[in-house]
């Protein structure tokens, strides 16, 4: 029985006996991890937001370890990746995307400088061994992820050294040899990975043999064969197919002379060749692409798939681009090409709902050229692939890369719908995760079903404009065939850049919920909050007002329906 106090005084903090939590009627707050758009956009599966968080805490090595939990080659991807993460970055709504690739590159370089150890241990002697055909970025990624899953990996590479197209198709101006050598060496030197070079599938090893010796076979052969290219049946006698030309250049350092060049395509190979041809002395280099240049009105799915800064640099260097266009026919003088008729086109939805490209009559025009370089893609060399190649590519049945043959998975460019180093690295990670699960008798790892946090889900009032780090670049006049064009932004800029990360959809530990709860129902705790935040909701007192959710800068707190009867 409550007994009256004299003058009806009350003791301190006794209101804790009054649980206002039962005032919530419709909604309650919850911590909802959403994917940051950078993460959602990353083909390699990196969670940029997560490693930026470590940087914000001042821990660069932790950031790198978080990074390499998905991608073991940040020094390389930081240089070559077209960084869809930056395109997706919500920071655009404030003042501009984060310089993610610069930070990634710095972390990769810093790891090598400081010899940070990859967060893996040597698998057991008798651990299952996975065969990986092709030691390009996809293969190396797969080998690395094997270690993460406690598996051993054996790489079979046709070439004398690992690297694949990193060595054969990416100019040194973008990716110095030293970087490739150093980062690959660190990964391939990890105990548990064995590399056999000069081992060609179909000649030195066969899939059947590999299947017998290994727990699984991952095929990462890349695309080695140029597609046939003709325009209305016309093929110039001295046709220079893009990838071959690029490899030739990488091997010999020279390209055929030409005055007016057309490059036809819309990828990095095309872009690299434009710049090489221009630097080699061509008067005009014109890129004909069906895609569109990035811009405010550009449909993202239609934008040219190249590293944006490469495009920028190419334009700086004088490369011309004709977008939304294709080559209708070649104008020949004998077997030599002397001109090309081009026509404008657009990607439009067809009657079946799938989009197709439609040329517009009356937009044809002719330009004079003396060299046409088609860069329209390559195909898998079918040798040794047991007939798994389907219309030029290995076409897996699921996201892990499973092929028709048991325990054989495909990854990287050979899958035909890839195209970037990051894609290959992501494929390697996914394929290994499926193999590991299968070996452990488990079902396939679930896809990350978290939603993506759009900029509209953030409270942008809590961020202010901070200018993006700018990387040093060689002046156009100083650009050669060897020297890396983009430089390092340095530690200070990296740390400053980290401050710009808005932690979309994740806890920024900013204290806003703790600060703004009128009911003192947010508990700040390092001990108990295990969901990556620093806070708990004390549902005994939360009245469900929703202030914490509205004032959460990152959208990490959201109001969920109060369960009936709950």
């Amino acid at each position: 029985m409550t007994v009256l106090t004299r003058g009806a005084y009350a003791g301190p903090g006794t209101s804790l006996d009054f649980k206002t939590g039962n005032w919530r009627s419709t909604e309650k707050p919850a911590h909802i991890h959403a994917k940051a758009p950078c993460h959602a956009a990353c083909p390699a599966g990196e969670d940029q937001q997560a490693w930026f968080a470590k940087l914000q805490e001042g821990h660069a090595e932790d950031a790198w370890r978080e990074l390499v939990s998905a991608n073991p080659l940040p020094a390389i991807t930081g240089r070559v990746c077209p960084h869809p993460c930056e395109t997706a970055c919500n920071r655009v709504a404030v003042e501009g995307a984060l310089a993610i690739h610069n930070v990634e590159r710095w972390l990769g370089d810093e790891a090598m400088r400081r010899n940070w150890a990859y967060p893996v241990t040597e698998p057991a002697e008798d651990a299952p061994d996975v065969a990986i055909v092709g030691a390009g970025p996809g293969g190396v990624s797969a080998a690395y992820h094997c270690l993460r899953h406690g598996l051993r990996a054996t790489l079979y590479e046709t070439a004398p050294e690992a690297g694949g197209l990193l060595r054969s198709a990416i100019p040194r101006t973008r990716l110095p040899r030293e970087t490739i050598d150093a980062e690959l060496a660190r990964v391939l030197g990890l105990p548990g990975i064995t590399l056999h070079t000069r081992a060609r599938l179909g000649r030195d090893v066969t899939i059947d043999e590999l299947k017998r010796k290994h727990a699984a076979v991952l095929l990462a052969p890349g695309c080695q064969e140029g597609k046939e290219w003709s325009v209305d049946g016309a093929v110039p006698a001295d046709l220079h197919e893009g990838l071959h030309l690029l490899k030739e250049f990488m091997d010999h350092g020279a390209v055929p002379e030409a005055k007016n060049v057309i490059v036809h395509g819309g990828g990095n190979t095309a872009m690299d060749l434009c710049r090489i041809m221009k630097r080699s002395g061509a008067e005009t280099v014109t890129l004909i692409t069906a895609s569109v240049l990035p811009g405010p009105d550009a449909d993202p799915s239609d934008v040219i798939n190249v590293v944006p800064r490469e495009l920028e640099e190419a334009l700086e260097e004088g490369v011309e681009v004709i977008e939304h266009a294709t080559i209708n026919r070649l104008i020949m003088k004998g077997s030599q090409v002397c001109g090309a008729e081009i026509q404008s086109l657009r990607k439009l939805p067809g009657q079946d709902g799938r989009s197709r490209r439609v040329g517009f009559e009356g937009t044809e025009r002719v330009i004079n050229v003396d060299m046409v370089i088609p860069c329209i893609g390559e195909r898998v060399d079918p040798e040794g692939l047991n007939g798994l190649v389907d219309h030029g590519y290995l076409r897996p049945s699921d996201r892990f890369g499973r092929l028709a043959e048991e325990r054989v998975l495909a990854l990287g460019d050979a899958r035909g719908d890839r195209g970037t180093v990051a894609d290959a690295i992501g494929d390697g990670r996914l394929a290994v995760s499926a193999v590991a699960a299968q070996l452990a008798g488990e079902s396939d790892p679930p896809a990350d079903a978290r939603g993506e946090m759009p900029s509209g889900g953030l409270n942008l009032g809590y961020y202010e404009g901070i200018s993006r780090a700018v990387a040093p670049k060689l002046a156009v006049a100083d650009r050669t065939f060897d020297k890396e064009i983009e430089g390092d932004i340095g530690r200070a800029a990296v740390m400053a850049e980290a401050e710009r990360c808005m932690a979309c959809g994740n806890c920024l530990a900013c204290d806003n919920c703790w600060t703004f709860c009128p009911d003192n129902a947010v508990i700040k705790t390092e001990e108990l909050a295990v969901d990556g935040s620093h806070y708990l909701f004390d549902m005994d007192f939360c009245k469900g007002c929703g202030i914490c959710a509205h004032e959460c800068p990152t959208g990490f707190i959201q109001m969920l329906p109060e369960e009936a009867g709950g």
Binding site: A50, E464, C510
Partner: protein
């Protein structure tokens, strides 16, 4: 403590990805509950009976965090008093007394005189709403300031008599509707202007008088800390939205308060000895309609067809412009202490822009 809604499997998964290992309890603190271990003073405890999203409860909590345990409070009658002390419970963890609606400043004067008589330094605070401060308690407040009591008076300004169900006060903004200033064929809400209380307070030439807003917690707390250090009368008016009376969603409390500052209708200023010594610059000045449109009490001003509505909107815009001009609120360049800079957040509660 319940952590419902966070199922174990999900927790395990999240812990795998993001989590840190739970830390062992700190030495000698094994008995402490997480609530007791909060790294801030909980002068105003949970379990109070304020409405969802109450700006005043938040403001009082923020003030108490900085005021600390060695204080005593005289609280005027009003929402804050009613929702914190329904006998036999009290949400306060400091000595607290409620006497009447209009005498908080005088009761505080007596408490302060008592502390002086006893040679103690315990700081006395007086809390009142706008009714108890702008209106009925104004005389007692003026007396307290004139007699130079060492008291920090905090007015939680929610711009109407909310405790009794939203009647107009002299702090109610022009054109806002309340139950005693309704809009109708003949009226567009309150006919009179919001009383410029701070100027009147400033005329007492006290050491420190300031306005603050719940939307700018760091700024508010800085002002409280400053006032706590002053040996003499200090005054703080805190703009504290009332979701019920202003008719906005409970989640919008901070947003509404922020916009009031950003449009210039509620300027954040500091006045020492009668002179304005600091203002919070507005980095991006908003139109007043950004503020008005969130609130039902101004809904009658949002009717495009009504020419009187346009006129009142223009009037309120002119009042905001006046504040911006008189106090020089427009920020010249980005400043860490302007409306945007103050709000900027960083990881781990690191004081990015928090002063």
């Amino acid at each position: 403590m319940s952590t419902e809604g966070q199922d174990a499997a999900r927790l395990a998964e999240l812990r795998q990805k993001f989590g840190r290992e739970p830390l062992p309890p700190r030495e000698g603190e094994a008995e402490q509950s997480p609530r007791d271990a909060q790294p801030r003073f909980r002068g105003l405890e949970s379990g109070h009976r304020a409405c969802q999203g109450c700006g005043e409860a938040l403001a009082a909590r923020l003030v108490m965090e900085c005021a600390g345990p060695d204080v005593m409070i005289a609280n005027a009658t009003g929402c804050l008093e009613v929702f914190t002390t329904a006998w036999p419970q009290s949400a306060w963890r400091v000595p607290w007394v409620h006497s009447l609606f209009e005498n908080a400043a005088a009761v505080a004067s007596g408490m302060e005189a008592a502390m002086k008589a006893k040679g103690r330094n315990t700081k006395v605070l007086a809390f009142g709403g706008d009714g108890g401060t702008y209106d009925i308690g104004f005389q007692a407040l003026s007396g307290m300031l004139e007699r130079y009591h060492n008291v920090l008076y905090v007015c939680f300004d929610n711009e109407a008599y909310m405790n009794t169900g939203i009647q107009r006060s002299s702090s109610t903004p022009h054109a806002a509707t309340t139950t005693t200033s309704p809009a109708g064929k003949e009226r567009m809400g309150k006919r009179h202007l919001k009383k410029d209380l701070l100027s009147i307070i400033a005329a007492h030439h006290i050491p420190f008088a300031a306005s603050a807003s719940v939307a700018y917690a760091a700024d508010l707390q800085r002002k409280v800390r400053y006032a706590m250090g002053v040996d003499g009368p200090t005054f703080l008016v805190v703009h504290s939205p009332c979701p019920l009376g202003w008719r906005h969603a409970s989640a919008m409390t901070i947003e509404v308060a922020r916009r009031a500052v950003e449009c210039g209708l509620f300027p954040l200023v500091e006045i020492e000895r009668g002179a304005v010594t600091n203002v919070m610059p507005i980095r991006d000045v908003r139109p007043v309609t950004d503020y008005l449109s969130l609130q039902g009490r101004f809904a009658h001003l949002m009717k495009d067809a009504d020419s009187r509505a346009a006129e009142e909107r223009a009037h309120l815009q002119a009042l905001a412009d006046y504040n911006i001009e008189v106090f020089g609120l427009r920020g010249d360049s980005p400043d860490a202490a302007d409306t945007t800079g103050t709000a900027v957040v960083g990881r781990s509660g690191r004081p990015a822009g928090r002063i």
